[in-house]
Amino acid sequence: MTSLLEVCAVDELQPGSCRIVEWDGDQIGVFNCDGEILAMEDRCSHDGAPLAEGVLDPDSCTIECPRHGAIFDLRTGIPTTLPAYIPVDTFPVVVEDGLIKIEVD
């Protein structure tokens, strides 16, 4: 059964920035990619590094892992370069009443 996890007010997440929320012992990164709000597991599937500390590219909507440079598509969680090859989880984003929320299990 899914529930909605509140993240923050829409105004508080400016383009190019990220907010981390905790759910069930894991961290989820919520990104504003040039106006599009996306949520993805904040743990690189290659070596466990915090993806949210990496470099966000708003043009391609990807994030580069700070530890070894693997790039993940923020919309799908699929890595586009090695050394990562296992996708990470993504979470549907809902914006209602001026608040950013994500759907979690």
């Binding site: 700070p66 440079g69 693997a70 090695l82 050394p83 090859y85 296992i86």
Partner: protein, 482 residues
Amino acid sequence: MATPDQTRVPLTSEEEGLKDLNADYTERYGFHDAENYLFKAPKGLTRELVEKISEFKNEPQWMREFRLKSLDHFLAREMPTWGSPMLAEVDFDNIHYFVRASEKPERSWDDVPDDVKKTFDRLGIPEAERSFLAGVGAQYESEVVYHQVNKDLEDQGVIFLDMDSALRDHEDLVREYFATIIPANDNKLASLNSAVWSGGSFVYVPPGVQVEMPLQAYFRINTENMGQFERTIIIADEGSYVHYVEGCTAPTYSSDSLHSAVVELIAKPGARIRYTTVQNWSQNVFNLVTKRAVAEKDATVEWVDCNLGSKLTMKYPSVYLMGERAHGEILSIAFAGKGQHQDAGGKIVHVAPNTTSNIFAKSISKDGGRSSYRGLLEVAKGAGGSKSKVVCDALLLDEESRSDTYPTIRIGEDDVDVGHEATVSKVGDEQLFYLMSHGISEEEAGKLIVNGFIEPIVKELPMEYAVEMNRLIELQMEGSIG
């Protein structure tokens, strides 16, 4: 009671002979030419030098930015603490990072500067090109001085260029693949290469094209304290085949040089790439290399990796089996003599289901040399139906030498078939006795044992390299009876 000396087993004549492997390196390869360079950077790595390299090559802005970002990654990261204690001896401030010997790659040996041409003549490269190669790139210090590919291959759309020319003439194609398999921040030495790369090969084979004869690149260092950082990308499009062979040597100096290459291979669906290396650097070269391949659906990548030279080699060619029924093969052979450490091996990662792989690694250690097998076999969740076999064998020729094995196996699926075997042996009296009792001379018996040990790998080398490898071994084993 016997003293330790009296109980020590005497060396056989073939063991004595093999101990001199590469003993003639200085006469054959260890010479150096006078330095008539167009440009030789002073020692040391600076931001200004990285910018200057990019300017020299007239690169697009994105490549210049890539280099500078890579430099930041290199400076921010510590050296690995695993592998070899010799790593601590690498002095990054005592290296020339860019040396230009000529204006541009020539298509005729007659146009290559005389000294450089004579060196390659002496190394047998033009002759090999005439005899059995479809294309040749010859790199001297930082850049390729000669490059040629058979016209009929060019007419079929095969691209075989030095990397600098490829970036200039096929920028979009290069950009599509550059650093997608080994990102700039992958590891410290890859970051260094990404900042100061120069030379190397770019190969693109169109769909369905079979390049029957090998393409070869030869890398030669000349100056002392040189850093050579070639960058190679090979793309085999659907259903195509290419065999790329590289060789390297350097002069014998008492102070150290550094070689750190980055090689990225992509085998598209149904394609096959074989990449053969005969590494024979002089024993003052640190050889720290990152080589990685992706094999898509029904594709095959084979690494044939022979390490004879260098002071320290750390190199683990890898294959990521990303598409169903892809196949990866790593054949590795290493000789470690006095003062050498060959830390070799390979990595195979099964990502897609029904993929297969083999790793065969053989090493010979002599005179206190040290060889290691370091490998990873990983079967990710979702790669059901995969099969793999890893065999690593070590041959120790004396009590001073050393061999270690560091295999890692990670299995994330139940439905797999994975095997691992490892042996350590000595050319023993029992083996010799057995062969000699069948009428074979002691010298021949020794050769048979050593050749049998490395045969599975040497037979995979292009004929002339296999002949050369066998010659090197046999030369040292002949005439050492009695």
